[in-house]
Amino acid sequence: MSETSLFDEYGPMVGFDEMFADPVGGPLVRDEYQTINGAFRKMGDDEIRVRADALATSYLDQGVTFGVAGEERPFPLDIVPRVIEAADWKHVDLGVQQRIKALEAFLADVYGPGELFADGVVPRETVVTSPHYHRVVAGLEPANGVRVHVSGVDLIRDADGNFRVLEDNVRVPSGVSYVMTNRRALSAALPEVFADHRIRPVQQYSRILLQALRAAAPAGVSDPTVVVLTPGVYNSAYFEHTLLARTMGVELVEARDLVCQGGRVLMRTTRGLEPVHVIYRRIDDEFLDPAQFRPDSVLGVPGLITAARAGNVTISNAIGNGVADDKLLYTYVPDLIRYYLSEEPILQNVDTWRLGEADQREEVLDRLDELVLKPVDGSGGKGIVIGPAATTAELDELRGKIHADPRAWIAQPVISLSTVPTLVEQGIRPRHVDLRPFAVNAGDEVYVLPGGLTRVALPEGELIVNSSRGGGSKDTWVLADPFVDPNPLDEAEVEEPEKPRKEKVRPGKARSGVTQSQSQGDQSLGEPLQEQTQTFPEYSEPDFSGSHLSGPNPSGEVE
């Protein structure tokens, strides 16, 4: 019946498979994958392989790479797309928006009045002892109230197929460029399959990002100059920096292109020094300003923080955001959502034990051999101990470390990530994936790009989907709901409609009345917002205003 043998011997199946519902009783293909299933079977083995090769070559010639230890490597893109149904996506979309709003409110509170400490939601030490807490930005109100302009929330699907949050990235999340290049490459490789679906576009990302960055410009700047700040060509995400700068039509600057004078940031051009208003930086906090942080940083611009504090330049994402995506703080995010938004979390966390708390510690110490232990400060998999894979000696050592400093650890169950069919040497086989949707906060609305980066672990059974561990990626197709009008923001060419001035998503608490930060914020921020609306004279088509303003994002919930 089928002309391809690549799906034969599909397995072994561990966890939730997104394409096949019941592999045991025969391959029962889920609805959203029916068309892809048909197309691949019709294509046949050779054709699939030929197209996969063409895909790989086109990526090499375009230089779609990431850097590992200074070497450029291609980032493999799998030929089988990942499909997410409209209803599932809506859940993710709302969940991510909710999370970002809560984290924005949290950051405004931490660097502002600190009411959450008084209310006992999160212990003060948990926040201020974080290495990412920077007192230097305390009291610094961002121009339009936004600190998390761009975020990437890492999601996985558990054994029942439910999306859960693995971690939040609100500092400098990367990977969105692959979302855009993957789409372009895959639509060239599988045009007929593509045409049979209604897939929500992703190329509008740059435009939405640019709008958000312009909206974040300091008060009184009518035509802000936005730049992307990169550490340079040897950075692993350099490809992405160039892509974003190119598609936004802004300059990609390195630290040596910038200079601070009189509390302003200027860039060196062939016509002399020109002012910069918004810096979308892709450099970590600690390297941004050698005058404030690490004096040995050559990636930074001395005086940048002074300029930001003077309100002459907006740094995006804001400095000090790292307190919000800390592993320990992660365990409090559901509480933050309830505290700030008076809502129940839409997306669940992965179950996590805080070892700083005695009863939780007891339970974990009993079950060390079946859990994953993560150091709170470690990043990128550093110091993680996977219980089932560890030796007795390692576990004893770990036990000692936990007793010595219990607050430095969290524990999670071993999570089985969902699988998606992936072309490997033996054929098409299940491989574990995660998902990083990207969200852009322009101040009045959090826009979640329909798609996001699906990373896939190519070795069999591998659960870590990191690109430095031989990971690849997949194009992620979010299907459009046929009964809902398309989101006008998805349209690549549609300009922003003129909208009535409305309240921004302002951090604030739902339980008590108007907080101090809120009333102050709105006073000082009212002007610049109005200013902003005037800066987009070209966005004057009123026709689109209805549909997305009445969308599922009433921004008034803060009041």
Binding site: G63, V233, T306, A307
Partner: protein, 313 residues
């Protein structure tokens, strides 16, 4: 435009032209070594190295040495391999300003280098010429004529003047070899154009004149100088808010190039050809000085790092 990006584009232009010209020069040189039985290989190769800027090479020099030093050896700054790598490195740093096509073309060339080096030399040189021509074509049809384009053209033209000058000195130094001038013309891709222009009256003096002064042939020194001046004048005009210059030229680079060109154009040819190598060396020095002037005026902002200034505020 950022000074750093402008500088990258300038050097991409230079490196690509250098790769092209080096391939042409080597191609012809190797052919001559094969075809001319009377030639002194050691002497001729050494001369080529000197002209190409490789100082004092200690051991024996033969065709394999020049192939290594000028084509294959990625460590040798005069080699094609080195130059392609440098062009690509610059393009990587300026990637967001290049058109996608342009970047892909440069990147593809760089990726093809290892396999090109495994080819027979003549094929490799052909490959280099084709690739650089393709990149030039793509640049021509996809780059907007903004400052970036002017810097790219400026780099390319200055390099072309410089390389043609080197080529002319090689030819005049090897004047006793009967094949020198036809060879030089062929290296510039000018042989047919020359024959047609002078109706087959081949003579050293005429060939030199053609390569130096022909206004119609795009690889001649004067044509390239005119191109470079055009680019500089456009940049100058773009930068100036007030009306045109009343007298003289305020831009040092423009002045240097203009003087070099007029010296070639308005002096008697015999005077120039009398001691061509010295003349050509002067021309190269003018190019270097002009390049220096452009750097000072447009790029040097990128170099200096002012640490204290902002930090003290």
């Amino acid at each position: 435009m950022l000074s750093r990006i402008a500088e990258s584009l300038f050097w991409i232009g230079r490196y690509l032209e250098r790769a092209d010209d080096t391939a042409r020069i080597l191609d012809v040189e190797l052919q001559v070594l094969v075809e001319d039985p009377t030639i002194d290989e050691e002497h001729s190769c050494r001369q080529l190295l000197t002209v190409m800027g490789v100082e004092e090479y200690p051991s024996v020099v033969n065709r394999w040495t020049i192939l290594d030093l000028l084509a294959h050896n990625p460590e040798s700054p005069s080699s094609i391999a080195y130059v392609i790598d440098a062009a690509r490195e610059n393009a990587r740093g300026a990637r967001e300003t290049l058109s996608t096509d342009m970047w892909a073309a440069i990147n593809t060339m760089w990726r093809g280098l290892p396999s090109a080096r495994a080819m027979r030399s003549a094929d490799m040189f052909g490959w280099v010429r084709n690739r650089t021509a393709m990149i030039a074509g793509i640049a021509d049809s996809t780059m907007t004529r903004d400052e970036g384009w002017q810097f790219f053209m400026l780099g390319r033209s200055i390099e072309r003047v410089d390389m043609t000058a080197r080529l002319l000195s090689t030819a005049s130094l090897a004047a006793e070899a009967q094949l020198a001038w036809p060879t030089t013309l062929r290296a510039c891709g000018a042989y047919e154009a020359f024959i047609r222009a002078y109706r087959g009256l081949e003579a050293d003096r005429l060939a030199a004149e053609f390569l130096l002064l022909d206004r119609w042939f795009p690889r001649s020194v004067v044509s390239a100088l005119v191109e470079a001046e055009k680019a500089l004048a456009t940049l100058e005009a773009g930068g100036q808010r007030t009306g045109g210059q009343r007298s003289g030229f305020s831009d040092e680079g423009l002045r240097l190039l203009g003087r070099a060109r007029t010296e070639l154009e308005y002096r008697p040819l015999a005077e120039i050809v009398y001691d061509l190598p010295t003349e050509m060396e002067r021309l190269q020095r003018s190019c270097a000085a002009a390049s220096e002037a452009v750097t000072t005026r447009y790029f040097s902002l990128a170099e200096s790092r002012q640490w204290s200034e902002g930090a003290l505020l």
